[in-house]
């Protein structure tokens, strides 16, 4: 062969490599779907849906801001982050601006797989990395409960997320890195209440989403789960809730805190945790006690180092 062929072969080789690479990428990032025919016949329980609603903390993000009705889920809250500002969508049963036209399978797909009815990956500000562990029945019950709430009209604006984070398809890779896709597996050597607590905390409660440090890709640092970290929404620090942080708290202290927001020294939870207490205070006492039992059992883990010097604010 003459020298003219080598660059052409190199070029052809690169084109094929790119095409193959892109096809693999496309295949790896196919949004998962829960098909409706995979869901067995089921009569939903809206009362359990209410428990799921409170445990999942849906209203803290999805309720219309600056008004007291937690069940008005018209969205609109702005959530700042290192990846841009998210605007929480309308999940009221409004048929035009909310989820009124959604099927049950579409809702389950959204919550458990983080995929929209049009097959687009949701941005993980929606904590499906935790919700993926929820029981399908709880999610179906939640859907039934949401359908009983008042429709709120008004579509919320798109997220303000810069390139490259707005390329939704890339989230397929992010999900491969940070989601195991497995439902919650109870630990048979532990009590039923411990398992209930572990289930609530790790799935619907999504506590680790705030109470863990994150890496530069925005995924949770698994080795430091629950060990606290910088507030993902901006100011301040989210505390360590392993025994490193909660060593002085009894189970009763933890359960009381989840009910009232009152710390053992009398002070009240402030900032973002106050929003959480508004939800956990609505759970039944057995569930809070279960969550406390599980939290108290978390071995002591050191969190990331905190800024020690006087922190200068630039704003």
């Amino acid at each position: 062969m003459t020298d003219r062929w080598t660059p052409r072969l190199v070029f052809l080789g690169s084109v094929i490599a790119v095409a193959v690479g892109f096809t693999i990428f496309w295949w790896l990032t196919i949004p998962a779907v829960v098909p409706s025919n995979s869901l067995p016949a089921y009569t939903p329980n809206p009362a359990n849906g209410l428990t799921a609603f409170n445990a999942g903390g849906c209203s803290s993000c999805h309720a219309v801001p600056a008004q007291p009705d937690r069940t008005r889920l018209g969205g609109g809250l702005a959530i700042p982050s290192p990846f841009g500002t998210f605007y929480v969508p309308n999940i009221s049963p409004d048929p035009v601006d909310g989820i009124g036209q959604w099927t049950e399978a579409e809702f389950v797909t959204a919550v458990i797989k983080g995929v929209s009815p049009t097959g687009v990956h949701y941005l993980p500000a929606f904590p499906y990395t935790s919700y993926q562990h929820a029981k399908i029945e709880d999610v179906r019950d939640l859907f039934a409960y949401l359908k009983t709430l008042a429709p709120v009209s008004g579509r919320v604006r798109d997220h303000d997320v810069p390139f490259p984070f707005n390329i939704r398809r890339n989230l397929g890779i992010w999900k491969l890195l940070f989601m195991d896709g497995k439902p919650f597996a109870p630990n048979p050597s532990r009590s039923a209440s411990w398992n209930r607590g572990a289930y609530l905390i790790n799935s619907l409660g999504h506590c680790a989403e705030c109470h863990s440090p994150r890496n530069f890709l925005g995924g949770i640092v698994a080795a430091q789960r629950f060990a606290g970290g910088p507030n993902p929404e901006g100011e301040g620090w989210v505390p360590n809730i392993t025994q490193k942080g909660l060593g002085e708290w009894s189970e009763k202290d933890i359960a009381y805190f989840l009910q009232t927001g009152e710390l053992p020294d009398g002070d009240t939870a402030g900032g973002l945790m106050a929003r959480v207490i508004r939800n956990t205070s609505q759970l039944n006492p057995e569930d809070r006690a279960a969550m406390a039992e599980y939290l108290k059992s978390l071995p002591s883990v050191d969190g990331p180092p905190r800024p020690k010097k006087a922190v200068k604010h630039d704003q």
Binding site: G271, R306, A310
Partner: protein, 149 residues
């Protein structure tokens, strides 16, 4: 020689400025900690039965709380733009971005205290007073206090 004086003088001014800011942050923290002392080491402990009910101590705690709450708006007027070194809690910058809203949260605390002043006679009435006052403190903390560790 003159250059040395100017450089050292500027450095001292700079250090002084930083120290002055830290002083402000400490003053603000001390105001809050004083209120916590009145409410949590005196009132709350009596409510929980950890220490015996003492009318004189209750009256002093309520009086000190009332005086201290009256100072919040003024003490929190300057913005130190930094947190107290090694503190657990700090002030959100939102205080100075929305000072009017911050200030508006103070009268309800003062009112909660005024409503119970002179009416606390026993643990039961103390608990009612404690819950009402504590809830008003929380209304402000939710937006304007930041956890640092």
């Amino acid at each position: 020689m003159i250059r040395m004086v100017v450089v050292v003088g500027t450095l001292l001014l700079g250090v002084g400025a930083v120290m002055a800011q830290q002083e402000i942050a400490v003053q603000q923290q001390n105001l809050m900690k004083g209120q916590a002392r009145s409410l949590y080491t005196v009132v709350m402990k009596m409510v929980k039965g950890e220490i015996p009910y003492n009318q004189a101590a209750v009256n002093t705690a309520i009086k000190e709380l009332e005086e201290s709450v009256g100072k919040i708006a003024v003490v929190f007027t300057p913005n130190p733009k930094q947190d107290v070194v090694d503190a657990t809690y700090g002030s959100s910058q939102k205080i100075w971005q929305n000072k009017a809203d911050f200030d508006s949260k103070i009268p309800p605390v003062a009112k909660a205290i005024a409503d119970v002043k002179g009416k606390i006679k026993d643990v039961a009435s103390l608990k009612v007073a404690y819950d009402q006052i504590n809830a008003r403190c929380g209304d402000c903390h939710e937006t304007y206090r930041v956890k640092l560790k």
